[in-house]
């Protein structure tokens, strides 16, 4: 059940690439539909080393085209995503990825938002909803309150001097 939910979530995550995809089409022509999907899935998660903020899929830089060609060759050779990604991270380091890997220190980047989303409502529940305002403590200061407070202060000051 939980595993199923994770699968659903993973599929959802990957479905929202709000940016459009660039010119990978020319490279893709001799790939089967499944390979095409794998190719796109992998190249959108590798960063273009020479651009800012783009994946190799979206970029036409020389370097990106070389990387895309490498991805394509390995897809054709039948490697899966994990193998291809580790090929690139061994060569270029983690730097080549576009999102923090889910291991080591980088887990923090994933754990923080997730725990905020889970524990946030709980905290709200404990600190806001559950708390009934019981004490008829200090209320809003009405003008009359402020005036009487000032009177008291003046009186005490006079008494002091």
């Amino acid at each position: 059940m939980i595993k199923g939910m994770f699968l659903v979530m993973a599929a959802l995550w990957s479905s929202f690439g709000w940016s459009s995809l660039g010119q990978a089409t020319a490279l893709e022509e001799d790939l089967s539909p499944e390979q095409k999907i794998e190719f796109r899935d992998i190249s959108k998660d590798l960063r273009c080393p020479t651009c800012t903020g783009l994946s190799i899929l979206e970029s036409d830089a020389q370097f990106s085209i070389q990387m895309k060609t490498a991805v394509k060759e390995q897809v054709l050779a039948g490697k899966n995503k994990a193998e291809i990604m580790s090929f690139f991270t061994e060569r270029y380091g983690l730097w080549i990825l576009r999102e923090p890997p889910k291991k080591g220190f980088h887990l923090v980047a994933w754990a923080l938002p997730l725990s905020a989303m889970i524990f946030g409502p709980l905290l709200l529940w404990f600190f806001v909803w559950r708390r009934r305002i019981t004490a008829k403590s200090r209320s809003i200061r009405s003008t009359a309150d402020i005036l009487s407070e000032m009177d008291r202060m003046i009186a005490s000051e006079k008494a002091g001097t």
């Binding site: 995550w13 709000w18 940016s19 660039g22 903020g53 036409d60 380091g93 730097w95 220190f105």
Partner: protein
């Protein structure tokens, strides 16, 4: 000579602002209204001098006075009049100056239009605003001097950054800066509330007005920036989760939060301290964004050249953060909670609280992603740049939860768990939203995505329509209580009407994102007269053309687009060359209809035969136009709400004080 005058004017402004802040401080401490007036006049005078200095810079820009370094570096003889104006804010010194100018103008405006009810806290407001201004004037005369001299006198300038020579980029910075600077005023009021030790009647009204104004400008500014990226950069997208985009988005989120917490504060008196914190965060993150842009500390497409201004900004931000934390820790207990018998539980205020939580979490995620390169470098030793996939992993969830919160929250009522006809509306809306979503999915070409993605997209689209129906049902319920008189609603509750319009605008934006989540594209090399087919669009390469537009020479292929036998028109995809710059820029060809954009760029063409064959990259982008439309609608909503003059006065504080 004008340059010297400009510099001295800014220097004078600096001295006036320092004087203004000191006199405001003593005015607040000794309760001397004459000292406060003096501080206010200092602010006013510095505003006038600052405007004068800005006019001087404009004048010199038009005179092509290259004896000024800034003008030499950022303009040239070929620049048309409209971009000569925009050259003012096309680089670091000028955009700092523009920011300063706007902050100065809005500060004076805030001081002069302050309500009589706020008289007792105005010295603190003036102190805060002028302290910020002093620091910014100091930068303008030291690290970021727009009037720096250049010698010997060159005959022509280096030229304005060609990417910025675009109508959207000419309007994007002033709009965005209006938003950023307007958020300084809620912050000043927040500091004033803490220093004075109470939130009073006029406070809410002033803060609401300025926050709303800032929010509206930010919304427009951000979307204008997206539009610029879309038509200028040629990668067929408008949002890339770039650090600077993110840091314009964070103040937007916090100002949205602020508006909602002000609403709770007005209705039931709670969340005063949250409002104070949010006012601070909105302001803080607008400066955080500038810090990123100016310092070049995080690589971004927006980075200006490396500049020594960075450490100064950092010091300032740290001071702000530490100062505000101390002030808040010491003074926040003086902001008293109200004495309400029933709050929270299942009610509108709880729904608003959840919305705050969602927005806050979103801001946290964006913040983590933005500063992650620095943090990971400090801890693991290797810099790790977080890019779009990370943000896209969270954004859709938050977006859909927000949509649900909008629908349910608007139907709930204050301080009661009763759901007056609400559950019926929620169910009816499901019924109505289904056929509409199908129609939308048909025209938005969602069916082509197929499989699992299609299902998810449909859920999103149906949810948006469902929320829109719920909102509209709530509106009609309110109209019924006013005997269906729209005029009465307009007279009495423009704030509600504005909120309705703004929420609908937000939903339309989400719809636009959903429809546009993937591009349909192809890359084709075509001979003249050849055509290609893409998702039912027939695109034909008609011929090669060269034209002159202002100072730019544009050349590229003309494509005609047909669909089902009807002629949709032509577009030109090509490259542009500016006289002072060596590089060629993409000139995007765009043919928009309500449902699709046909978007084309020309990566390459046959130079020997002057374009007998050319390579085109063609995208069909569904529902992008909805994003631009949503901008107009959200801004309209903000303006309608701004027109509401009574909001903020009928606060609980006020009512109880009258009793």
């Amino acid at each position: 000579m004008f340059a010297d005058l400009g510099f001295y004017l800014l220097f004078l402004c600096f001295i006036l602002s320092v004087y203004g802040s000191i006199s405001a401080f003593f005015a607040a401490k000794t309760r001397q209204i004459r000292l406060y007036r003096s501080s206010k006049y200092a602010a006013t005078a510095s505003t006038f001098f600052c405007i004068f200095a800005a006019l001087l810079l404009f004048y010199m820009l038009f005179q092509r006075d290259y004896s000024v370094m800034y003008i030499f570096k950022n303009s040239s003889n070929d620049l048309p009049w409209n971009y000569t104006i925009a050259a003012f804010w096309s680089a670091l010194e000028g955009s700092h100056f523009l920011w300063l100018l706007m902050l100065s103008v809005y500060s004076s405006l805030a001081l002069w239009t302050a309500s009589k009810n706020n008289e007792h806290i105005m010295p603190w407001v003036s102190l805060t605003l002028q302290a910020i201004l002093s620091w910014m004037f100091y930068l303008a005369i030291s690290y970021s001097d727009p009037f720096l001299k250049n010698f010997p006198l060159p005959p022509d300038g280096v030229g304005m950054n060609a990417l910025l020579q675009n109508p959207y980029m000419a309007t994007h910075p002033p709009t965005l800066f209006t938003g950023y600077t307007a958020l300084a005023i809620p912050f000043a009021y927040a500091v004033a509330a803490l220093c004075y030790g109470d939130i009073t009647e006029g406070w809410l009204k002033s803060v609401r007005r300025w926050a709303l104004f800032g929010w509206t400008s930010l919304t427009v500014g951000i979307i204008l920036g997206g539009r610029w990226a879309y038509v200028e950069l040629g990668w067929s997208g408008y949002w890339a989760w770039d650090p600077v985009e993110n840091s314009s988005f964070m103040p937007w989120i916090f100002s949205t939060c602020l508006l909602h917490s002000l609403l709770v504060q007005e209705k039931i008196g709670h969340l005063k301290r949250l409002s104070v914190v949010l006012a601070f965060l909105g302001f803080f993150f607008s400066f955080f964004g500038t810090f990123i842009t100016r310092s070049g500390i995080i690589s971004s497409v927006h980075s200006f050249a490396q500049s020594s201004i960075g450490p100064n900004y950092l010091a300032y931000l740290v001071c702000l953060l530490v100062g505000m934390t101390i002030l808040y820790a010491v003074r926040a207990p003086t902001l008293l909670p109200p004495d309400t018998d029933k709050a929270w539980g299942v009610s509108k205020e709880s729904a608003l609280m959840l919305t705050q939580f969602l927005l806050g979490t979103f801001a946290l995620i964006i913040f983590i992603g933005t500063i992650y390169p620095i943090v990971s470098e400090m801890i693991t030793g290797a810099r790790f740049n977080v890019q779009a996939p990370y943000f896209n992993a969270f954004a859709p969830w938050i977006g859909l939860l927000l949509v649900a919160a909008i629908a349910v929250g608007n139907l709930l009522r204050w301080k009661t768990g009763k759901f007056l006809g609400g559950s019926k509306i929620l169910l009816q809306a499901v019924f109505w939203s289904l056929p509409v979503s199908l129609v939308f999915a048909y025209f938005g070409r969602v069916f082509e995505s197929g499989g699992f993605r299609f299902g998810i997209q449909m859920v999103g689209i149906a949810m948006v329509f469902w929320a829109a129906f719920c909102l509209t049902a709530d509106l009609s319920m309110r109209l019924k209580t006013l005997k269906g008189s729209f005029k009465l609603l307009w007279q009495r509750n423009r704030a509600y009407l504005g909120a309705y319009v703004a929420h609908i605008g937000f939903l339309i934006a989400i719809l636009g994102f959903l429809g546009n989540y993937r591009g349909l594209e192809t890359v084709k090399t075509l001979k003249k007269g050849e055509s290609t087919e893409l998702y039912g669009f027939e695109i034909k390469y008609e011929g090669f053309d060269i034209l002159q537009e202002q100072n730019a020479t544009i050349y590229g292929g003309v494509l005609s687009v047909h669909k089902d036998g009807t002629d949709l028109g032509t577009l030109m995809a090509g490259r542009s060359k500016y006289p002072t710059k060596p590089e060629l820029l993409h000139e995007v060809g765009l043919l928009s209809s309500f449902w699709h954009d046909v978007y084309a760029v020309m990566p390459d063409f046959d130079k020997a035969t002057r374009g007998e064959t050319a390579t085109f990259q063609i995208h069909i982008n569904p529902t992008v136009r909805l994003v631009w439309i949503s901008c107009v609608i959200m801004a309209l909503g903000g303006l309608i709400a701004l027109l509401d003059r009574s909001r903020g006065l009928n606060t609980k504080d006020h009512l109880e004080a009258v009793e």
